[in-house]
Symmetry: C2
Subunit: 388 residues, 2 copies
């Protein structure tokens, strides 16, 4: 039988087909008026996506490169940082700080638990001054959302401390008002809600962050925000940009503006809610106590390792989901809702998950997961918006 | 929310993405060795698809063009034909015969009923000799399959009568052994199980059919099989071929050969069976008493016209299905399984159909349709083939 391959991983996510088209045709040189126009348009679209009128910079790198750039541009060797660590990507902030000789004060959160912002306030008030607080909007490894809005309000009270948010997975799946919420540096990546292949990263930089950038003594060249800002003022990037991806980006951002960012976010949240309802109906437990909308982490049934669920879905149905990461590998599997998905996709995904669990020996009432998802759809639909 | 557009019409059907790729790149000239090689490969693939070692001809035309070619090449003005008419495409055979001054003897079948092959035998034995029997493998307008295998055995006994099968919708969704079953002329089209855009049609021509072709007195030029056969012997087409579609065709046929035609057919049949089970579980009636696997015709709930179901699915979920045709317009809606679909697609489709029916006021137990589809999948899966 025909079996299509479909990505349901929390990055890369399915690409937006019209962007694939324009990327395939994008043989243009980057030092041209044509490219300048496209870059200008992409940057305007990014400001909408990030909800900020402050600076946004684009790098040809993965998200980790942009995370590193935040550390290198904001902090100097010997500076101190507060790092929220609730999973693999929190650990990455910690590793990056250490690589740049930044002293790390860690706020450890049990996997899948919510962050209590008051803990951050206590540490900022009690301890010696820190240059930056590093956090995830969504900790992808545990599919957990953190309350960055409250963090923004707290850190805003400390004039020499910046809030750095890894929103690579969070952007486009949750409300995230970069400027209003005082998120000084927000990191994004192309292979997530931007519905593109990997290869582009984005950072937004607040005025407060720029003051730190100007005095950072850390070594940096490729990721130097000062040089990049000068280039952006001339509708350019400092070094050769990933041209095709930027062409695709501008196409995607036009689409998001047409759809409305709120609607895109609402779609992801509805899919996540439907998936959680389905999991519970199938007798499974959602891994996170503060679940995000970008992907849903689900504990596998007793006695069935996550990787068997992952392998079966791929082999039998062509559906590519993710197991846990690191020590969480067998403790959860993760289904993405970030990017180019609609409700039909969630129904197909849950149906195939039911068949998979049934075939692996989990006792379930066939169809109960999909029914819960359908009920979620009916309950959430506001009256009078059938044609949305 | 994001809403993808998906074709679930019984032609055009979703295109095969790797074929879209090669078609986009197919700027080659047709009088070249490169094109000859591609055409040779496509013709070999078509012989596999049609299950015949006899001649296959390719035309740049819609399926109707190829249907016309069958009449013009097999019959002369004043000849007689037996035409099975059980829907819009049976009527098309009738109209074509009349356009060529062929006397039509009609076997009328009520919409959605099976064909009793014995009726054809009786007419052939009783009446004056007919040059050809025209029939559909699948009558698309009523989603009904006819027993062409039995017809083949019957017509084979009459040395001067050819059996002409419109298998435009049937091919690739049902067993159809052109040569073994003595189907003298079988018509196909690119926009169906060939997973391509419309624009190509195919005919297989048996030795018995060639004898009629040689003596047909009907006017024809573009569709003249004699000229086309000579061109095919030189790996060419008589007139400018639809180059990109033939390039795509050769890609699709390679895929079908890799998958195995039996598996492709099995997939369509499973989807059709699951859809019928879902319809019944939702309290709906399958329109046909001899349902085909290419598409499923479903009677809408009492009081809800088919076109409302069609419109709602398109507006709310981006799913494009077909209402009935002609006078059957409001009596059924049709969901395709022909071409590039997998089981995930059926689950998404049925789930969205449930939401649509619920929103249009049909009383149903949400999830019951999808459950029936899932159960069909579980029952049909043979043991030991999880990784098929």
């Amino acid at each position: 039988m025909i079996k299509k391959t479909r990505l349901f991983t929390p990055g890369p996510t399915p690409s937006f087909p019209p962007a694939q088209q324009v990327m395939a045709e994008s043989e243009i040189h980057h030092r041209t008026e044509e490219f300048k126009r496209i870059l200008r348009e992409a940057l305007a679209g990014l400001r909408y996506f990030f909800q900020t009128q402050e600076d946004i910079l684009i790098f040809a790198s993965s998200g980790t490169g942009a995370m590193e750039s935040a550390v290198a541009n904001l902090l100097s060797p010997g500076d101190r940082a507060l790092v929220v660590v609730g999973g693999k990507f929190g650990e990455r902030w910690e590793e990056l700080c250490k690589a740049y000789q930044v002293g790390v004060e860690k706020i450890a959160i049990p996997y899948g638990q919510a962050l209590d912002p008051r803990v951050v306030r206590q540490r900022l008030e009690a301890g010696p001054s820190v240059g930056a607080v590093f956090v995830q909007a969504v900790e992808t490894s545990t599919a957990t959302e953190y309350d960055v809005r409250s963090l923004g309000a707290i850190v805003h009270e400390f004039p020499d401390t910046c809030l750095v948010v890894d929103a690579i997975t969070g952007l486009g799946t949750m409300e995230l008002r970069t400027q209003d919420w005082h998120l000084d540096l927000v990191v994004g990546g192309s292979q997530k809600a931007f519905m593109l292949p990997p290869g582009l990263s984005f950072v937004s930089v607040s005025e407060k962050a720029w003051r730190r950038v100007e005095r950072s003594g850390s070594p940096r060249y490729y990721f130097d925000y000062r040089r990049e800002r000068k280039s952006v003022a001339r509708d350019q990037t400092a070094y050769t940009p990933a041209v095709s991806l930027i062409v695709g980006l501008s196409q995607v951002l036009r689409f998001v503006q047409e759809q409305g960012l709120d609607n895109v976010i609402r779609g992801a949240r509805l899919q996540a809610e439907a998936t959680r309802a389905a999991a519970r109906a199938l007798g499974l437990q959602v891994f996170s106590h503060s679940p995000c909308a970008a992907c849903t982490g689900i504990r596998p049934p007793e006695g069935i390792p996550s990787t068997r669920v992952v392998q079966h879905l791929r082999k039998e149905f062509g559906l590519v989901i993710a197991a846990g990461q690191g020590e969480l590998k067998e403790q959860l599997f993760r289904i993405a809702h970030i990017g180019y998905f609609d409700f039909y996709d969630i129904l197909g995904m849950i149906g195939c998950l039911e068949l998979t669990l049934e075939q692996l020996g989990h006792s379930l009432s066939l169809g109960s997961g999909v029914r819960a998802a359908l009920q979620t759809y009916c309950q959430r639909r506001e009256p009078g918006e059938p044609g949305e």
